[in-house]
């Protein structure tokens, strides 16, 4: 202790408190180095069982929701002695249920729990699942009242799902690697796939490299960066290979030891949802791992993403859906061949092996993503203009020498998307955001004209900078027509240019259309609501559209 300080005597800090301190440290800094340092510091103090759970939660995994949000809200209402609407109002203002509970009920100044993280999870939280609701309520509400804010918040977060504290799986792997003095890629690989957070897992995670593979374990995906600069900056086109950028589900197909695993990028096993793909995989030799895209595909063409969505939601699929929306695996990389990890080979060599493996396959469950040949960037740019007719998002550019990278490393894989669709639409509703943006209206609903009324067409969350968000928030508060809980309807006055990636007919939406990835391109203060698009004009954007119309449409926004 420094000489001229009078400090309270150090209290013994429990492992659960250490974990909540780690959470706060991660939450309070934006520096990745500081985050890694905080995690390493925690791992040095944690027991193996706690470390396993910490890695589990921090890397974004979650225990299946133990108690539904509406039940928690009703218990909160009962415990708080506040009218139900006031609890709801508080929740709407905070934007996070776990936090709202802690803010309303936690006792300030309490010391917090003496238990370890693993004790909390295994002996207190998980057993809730099999209890009758009255017993759950008695236990949970007692915790709410006994804990201080930080502990209550963490316990609520664990109970309701993900921790979400702004660290990626990659960053957690970096911390574990630093702690255990192992290569980062090895740790990351060991963290992939399904595992249970126990002592055995932790010891295996930090054990020395034995060159092991677990047959189901996927490799970390290589991610592309959006190409913002001109393609000319990439040097001669001969150093690059181009493929269409498919709009499907990124997936990794593993065939090892006579078994097949199909992993999504979110590391979910999705094989049962795509039986035609897993059936095709049975013909692959053992020790094969493919990277590619799951697409809805009918004969010679990719189907709209909205069709694929019908398959995503189902754990198992019936015959009717299988025949209406057939799917295939569009393979574009080979990571493991003949049981050997070939990720360090240059792209051209992996591509050659991939072509040798399935290039000649007639199985309808597979296709190989064709190369898009062009001898100049200019020629490639022209081909890219046909993306919309092909139902693709643009082009992927892969460096011929590029190894299969771990995560997003700039300079090897670029996504070169076509210009987005744009329309002018009027703001109709606003809602306060969540988390970082609680208290501010950041979620907006926009409409376009149908005769004399505005029909909602898109919700958008991003695209404005902080000062615009603040300005708009003030405007929204002054121009609220009606409030429906956290949602406000506002005067139809503000016009925004929206950009989106795709558009399809939809029976689920009032407007009759659904747009993909809508976002705000700019705030058009120069336009009046009457300048906004009509629904008819928007519907005309739906494919198929002659190429020159699209070109005209996208170029007009630059004027």
């Amino acid at each position: 202790m420094l000489p001229n300080w009078q400090s309270p005597t150090a209290m013994k800090v429990s492992m659960m408190q250490k974990f909540s301190q780690l959470y706060q440290a991660l939450d309070q800094t934006t520096s990745t180095n500081a985050k890694v340092a905080a995690m390493v510091d925690y791992l040095q103090q944690a027991t193996a069982a706690d470390a396993a759970w910490a890695v589990y939660f921090l890397s974004g995994r979650r225990i299946k929701r133990l108690i539904g949000a509406s039940l928690l809200r009703s218990w909160l209402h009962q415990s708080s002695d506040l009218p139900e609407w006031l609890v709801e109002e508080s929740y709407a203002s905070v934007g996070d249920l776990a936090e709202t509970i802690a803010l309303l009920l936690a006792t300030p100044g309490k010391r917090g729990s003496d238990r370890t993280l693993s004790d909390w999870v295994e002996n207190h939280l998980l057993p809730l699942r099999t209890m009758p609701p009255e017993q759950q309520q008695a236990l949970v509400t007692r915790w709410w009242e006994q804990q201080n804010y930080q502990q209550s918040f963490i316990i609520n977060k664990l109970m309701t799902g993900a921790l979400r504290v702004g660290v990626s799986q990659l960053l957690v792997a970096r911390a574990v690697a630093e702690f255990a003095d192992l290569p980062r890629s090895l740790v990351l690989h060991r963290m992939m796939g399904e595992w249970s957070p126990d002592e055995a897992f932790w010891y295996a995670l930090v054990s020395e490299d034995r060159g092991e593979t677990v047959s189901s374990r996927p490799y970390p995906f290589c991610l592309a960066s959006p190409l913002e600069a001109s393609v000319d900056t990439l040097g001669p086109i001969q150093a690059w290979m181009a493929e269409w950028k498919w709009d499907g589900i990124r997936a990794q197909l593993i065939r090892r030891d006579g078994e097949t695993w199909l992993w999504s990028r979110g590391e979910e096993l999705i094989g049962t949802r795509f039986p035609e793909i897993t059936a095709a995989a049975e013909n692959l030799p053992d020790g094969t791992v493919l990277d590619g895209e799951i697409l809805a595909w009918d004969n010679q063409a990719v189907l709209p993403f909205s069709e694929l969505q019908r398959r995503i939601g189902r754990k198992s699929v019936g015959k009717k859906l299988l025949s209406e929306v057939p799917c295939l695996f569009m393979a574009y990389d080979l990571m493991e061949s003949e049981s050997t990890d070939i990720r360090s080979l240059p792209f051209t060599r992996r591509r050659a092996k991939l072509e040798a493996l399935i290039g000649q396959s007639t199985d309808p469950g597979f296709r190989i993503s064709p190369l898009v040949a062009a001898d100049s960037w200019q020629a490639l740019a022209e081909l890219r203009e046909s993306s919309r007719q092909r139902q693709v998002e643009g082009l992927m550019l892969k460096h011929v020498e590029a190894p299969y990278q771990t995560g997003r490393k700039r300079g090897f894989w670029w996504k070169w998307k076509v210009e987005a669709y744009t329309i002018d639409a009027v703001m109709l509703y606003a809602q306060a955001g969540h988390g970082r943006r609680a208290n501010l209206h950041t979620d907006y609903t926009f409409g376009v004209w149908q005769n004399d009324t505005l029909v909602p067409i898109a919700k958008a969350y991003s695209g404005l900078d902080n000062s615009e968000i603040n300005e708009l928030d003030k405007w929204i508060r002054r121009n609220t027509l009606e409030r429906f809980g956290p949602v406000r309807s506002v005067t139809a006055e503000q016009v925004f240019e929206l950009a989106f990636e795709g558009i399809n007919l939809s029976t689920r939406h009032k407007s009759g259309i659904a747009v993909r990835f809508p976002r705000i391109k700019r705030w058009r203060k120069d336009l009046s609501p009457r300048d906004a698009e009509t629904l008819e004009q928007v519907k005309r954007l739906i494919n198929p559209v002659p190429e020159k119309d699209i070109v005209a449409d996208t170029s007009s926004e630059d004027n």
Binding site: L2, N4, W5, Q6, S7, P8, D27, Q28, T29, T30, S80, L82, P83, W85, L86, E89, S90, S93, V94, G95, D96, E99, T100, L103, L104, P108, G109, G433, H434, G435, R436, R437, A438, N439, L440, N470, D473, K474, R477, R478
Partner: protein, 352 residues
């Protein structure tokens, strides 16, 4: 006061008069007393609740204010202004009304304004808090018929820890930064919050704290008023030799992200505000640390004050009071929002 009520009532029935205090473009206007409380536009006579810029503007010919706020007001409005200091609790006559100032516990000299006319008592809380604060006069409860209250933090999620507990966290952070040999730059409003921290820190250390140019002169005024605080020194930007590693620096929030910060390489930044209670605000601001320290009443403080004043009618000034008004109405009270706001709605960094 209660015993003479009936007379006042009969007059009002015969000549239905307007409210004693009304929200106007100029501010909270009292026609019977011919003055405006905390005016925002040109007027003759101002009655000022406290020296923060959103309440004390140089727009009046004459000012009345609490005695202990006069040095701060002169600093803010100019030495040549006609500012009359009135001791707390001492009534003065303005027009047909009797006006007195009562401590609001917000900052040094901050006052609630009590206005009495025709046996009717109105109190404007100004900005206030109920929590202990060694740097200003403690809040005094003033019974009234109509209470005009601030409602900056009018939701039940806003409950404060004591200032001493929060400042203990600040002291710990400072100590950590001392060990890490990094400057600790604390952003706090330059009038009130900064001095409250300096005063509470006395319990932990006797080290010198360095002050931004906007904080230093105001702190000197506090010191002259006899407030016990840590020793302070103004930051001399020209002194290139001085290193601030391990030192605590207090600056107004506006200095955050300015070129001024370049003087403090590797600084850890902290922000003192009631808004820091909400995680989203903490994260959005991008400070390394958020300390939940407010000079405004929290939710329990607002409810307690409304109840204890015995007011039959509650009017609010700061917006964001929908929930409070609805709750009071459900409890059978006459509550409404006044069309006046001393700031923009939404999260305000300064929280003054």
């Amino acid at each position: 006061m209660v015993s003479e009520k009936s007379a006042g009532k009969s007059i009002r029935i015969a000549h239905p008069v307007d409210d004693l205090i009304k929200a106007t473009d100029t501010g909270l206007a009292c026609d019977a007393g011919d003055f405006v409380i905390d005016p925002m536009k040109r007027t003759r006579t101002a009655v000022i609740s406290h020296a923060h810029a959103d309440h004390a503007r140089a727009v009046a010919d004459h000012y009345y204010a609490s005695e202990s706020s006069v040095p701060l007001l002169k600093r803010r409005l100019g030495d040549d202004q006609d500012i009359r200091g009135v001791p707390f609790g001492q009534p003065i006559r303005l027009g047909q009304t009797q006006v007195s100032f009562h401590p609001a516990g917000h900052v040094l000299g901050s006052a609630q304004i009590r206005v009495e006319a025709d046996d009717e008592v109105w109190v404007f809380t100004g900005d206030f808090k109920r929590d202990h604060d060694p740097s200003c006069e403690p809040f005094e409860l003033v019974p009234c018929d109509t209470l005009i209250t601030e409602t900056t933090f009018a939701l039940p999620v806003y409950r404060w820890q004591s200032g001493a507990e929060v400042v203990a966290e600040i002291a710990q952070w400072w100590q950590d930064m001392q060990q890490a040999e990094r400057p600790a730059v604390l952003f706090a409003y330059s009038l009130g919050k900064a001095q409250r921290v300096l005063s509470e820190l006395r319990a932990f250390t006797d080290r010198t704290v360095y002050l931004h140019g906007a904080v230093y002169p105001l702190t000197e005024i506090y010191r002259e008023a006899g407030i016990d605080m840590l020793p302070t020194a103004a930051i001399d930007l020209d002194d290139r030799q001085k290193k601030y590693a391990g030192e605590l620096i207090i600056a107004p929030p506006g200095a955050s992200g300015s070129t001024w910060m370049r003087r403090f390489p590797k600084a850890s930044t902290g922000f003192c505000s009631g808004w820091m209670r909400i995680r989203g605000n903490r994260r959005r601001r991008g400070y390394d640390r958020g300390f939940v320290l407010s000079d405004h009443a929290d939710w329990p403080g607002l409810l307690k004050t409304i109840e204890e004043t015995g007011a039959r009618r509650v009017l609010t000034t700061h917006g964001q009071a929908d929930a409070l008004i609805r709750l009071l109405r459900e409890q059978g009270m006459d509550a409404a929002e006044l069309a006046i706001s001393y700031r923009d709605e939404g999260v305000d960094d300064a929280e003054i």
